[in-house]
Amino acid sequence: MTASIELQDVTFGYDATRPILSDVRLTIETGTFLAIVGPNGAGKSTLINLLAGLLKPQSGTISIDGADLRARKQADLARQVALVRQEFVPAFGFSVAETIMMARTPYFGPLGFERPSDRQIVAEAMELTDTTAFAARPLASLSGGERQRVFIARALAQDTPILLLDEPTSFLDLKHQVGIYDLLKSIQHEKARTIVAITHDLNLAAQYCDQVLLLTGDSACPANPPETHYRAGPPGEILDPEGIERAFGIRVASMRIGRERAILPLGRLAKDADQAGAEESPHPE
């Protein structure tokens, strides 16, 4: 399963005169783990929805494996791209297994029931996400972390080379945050999937992702050169303290942990506000 994503001069705005994204040019290679970061309203979710085919770009093209998304039917696209959304929509008390099986709906037999191969795929997805134990429980009875794993399992059961996630860890505690990122990383490696995840946690992004796309939210003035709208590259390059301070309009302190940097935002009244801008290394090389 290969699927590289190519964005060429993609421009989109909900209001035609005020683009949220303008002239985004980006290639996401097969098997990459890309984090999308940036301030609220910078167009992160918009970009994910564009990649999922739920929105169409005003200009420019998005292609997967060289085929333009515009020319594809939603059903074909669903074989390439699976989406895990941020909010959970409660739906009539479906069980975990029923929810995950829904990813196979387009492949059901004539009577509307799954085939043995669908059961196989769903069982594997549940195995990988560690959701087999609560297969029979209703979705609403699960904790936030468990529920997120179920929706990742549903996306896996869609059996697509590309996985899109909109803030997969936003409501989770630290243990479940790293749990989800470990899961995504293992999916990336074991299943050779391309993963694109929106996150606000720059440190987890640095620890787990191969590439980072920083959207600055400055697209409202298309006069600016594209470099000021967004930057993409490996985390060490993109998540530098000055770049973060500019994009988010805050002061940060940063610290080299090992291979990556950790970044701590510091508000005006923070205890260590005077330390902003400092970069320390606990283990000087």
Partner: protein, 342 residues
């Protein structure tokens, strides 16, 4: 993995269908006039001497029981579909204005005093049917302007049209002659009567075809329960499914309403009751709700015509009076399963 299998589904449908037939037979025999099945079967209409048992069963009781089953199945099936597509547990077959549209049509037919008939149907039924479909079309057209998947827009449009038409009905009621008012109010409360077999077959064909059509989109309805965006990203043609679901359920509701007036409660409560006991999977919920809806309305109508015999109650009164407490008991007993209401 405990998932619904075709075999389980078939067994449950067969069991429910059998139960429905038993209930229909019992209700056919129940009534103020005692009839004997043996006497009725011993000689058909071909017998030389008139056979009163046969006449009562075939011309009075059976058509009415069949009509009740038909209307109950249509309302419960449409209720399931509306709840799924609108993702709203409070939705019922009348939520998009069908009831007020049909009511207005019936009212207009009565006060205009038209006397013609169309294929043996009274102007009330014809007007009600046409106005019901017209109203749904109006609500759909208004709702479509308001957004891509326009579920909230549709709901609002339905509520407003309902309120507006109800006001017109009340206005007409207040200026109409009293015997006209009585006829319309009886119709608005929902009531069963004896129908021609021809009309019954046509109605059964329409409702049956509609329910089979809905069954074939029930896997998609499951996915749409998680929202249009989720369903679309899973590769489901959301617009087509919504259009089919709304179109078919509006049609079978209009058929039911034109045959029996406004019978409330069946389309709201039966889907919830079946969902509480058997779970939310629409592949099962849709056929079984239809069958349970049919049983419920057949039983309710029998009560309506027996309890104050020889007078009759509107069946809508019974569905709410008997169904309400029954549903509350179900709700309390299964309350830990009611996640969709939280």
């Amino acid at each position: 993995m405990r998932l619904l299998t075709p075999k389980t589904l078939m067994i449950r449908i067969a069991a429910a269908a059998l139960l429905l037939l038993v209930i229909m037979l019992c209700c056919t025999l129940a009534g103020p006039e005692p009839v004997s099945l043996r006497a009725a079967l011993s000689g058909g209409s071909a017998a030389a001497s008139p056979n009163p048992d046969f006449e009562i069963l075939m011309r009075v009781r059976l058509p009415r029981v069949i009509l009740a089953a038909l209307v109950g199945a249509a309302l419960a099936g449409a209720g399931v579909t509306f709840q799924a597509v609108l993702r709203n547990p409070l939705a019922d077959p009348y939520i998009l204005g069908i009831s007020s549209g049909a009511g207005l049509g019936a009212m207009l037919a009565v006060i205009s005093g038209i006397q013609w008939t169309l294929w043996g149907r009274s102007p009330v039924a014809v007007f009600a049917f046409a106005c019901a479909l017209g109203t749904v079309w109006l609500v759909w057209a208004v709702g479509r302007v308001t957004g891509k998947f326009h579920v909230t827009g549709l709901l609002l449009a339905g509520v407003v049209v309902n309120a507006c038409f109800s006001a017109v009905i009340m206005f007409l009621t207040s200026i109409a002659k009293s015997q006209d008012v009585h006829a319309t109010i009886f119709w608005l409360m929902g009531n069963m009567h004896e129908e021609d077999f021809l009309v019954l077959w046509a109605g059964a064909g329409a409702v049956g075809a509609g329910l089979v059509g809905l069954f074939f989109i029930s896997p998609q309805l499951n996915a749409i329960s998680f929202g249009a965006t989720d369903a679309q990203s899973m590769g489901i043609d959301v617009r087509r499914t919504q259009l089919l679901a709304f179109g078919i359920s509006a049609f079978i509701t209009a058929v039911a309403v034109s045959l029996s007036g406004l019978i409330g409660f069946v389309g709201l409560i039966v889907p919830h009751a079946v969902r509480l006991v058997l779970g939310p999977d629409h592949r099962q919920l849709l056929p079984l709700s239809s069958l349970v809806g049919a049983m419920f309305l057949v039983a309710a109508d029998t009560v309506a015509r027996v309890v104050v015999a020889p007078a009759q109650l509107p069946v809508g009164v019974i569905t709410a009076m008997v169904g309400g407490p029954f549903f509350l008991i179900l709700l309390i007993r299964h309350n830990r399963k009611v996640y969709w209401l939280t």
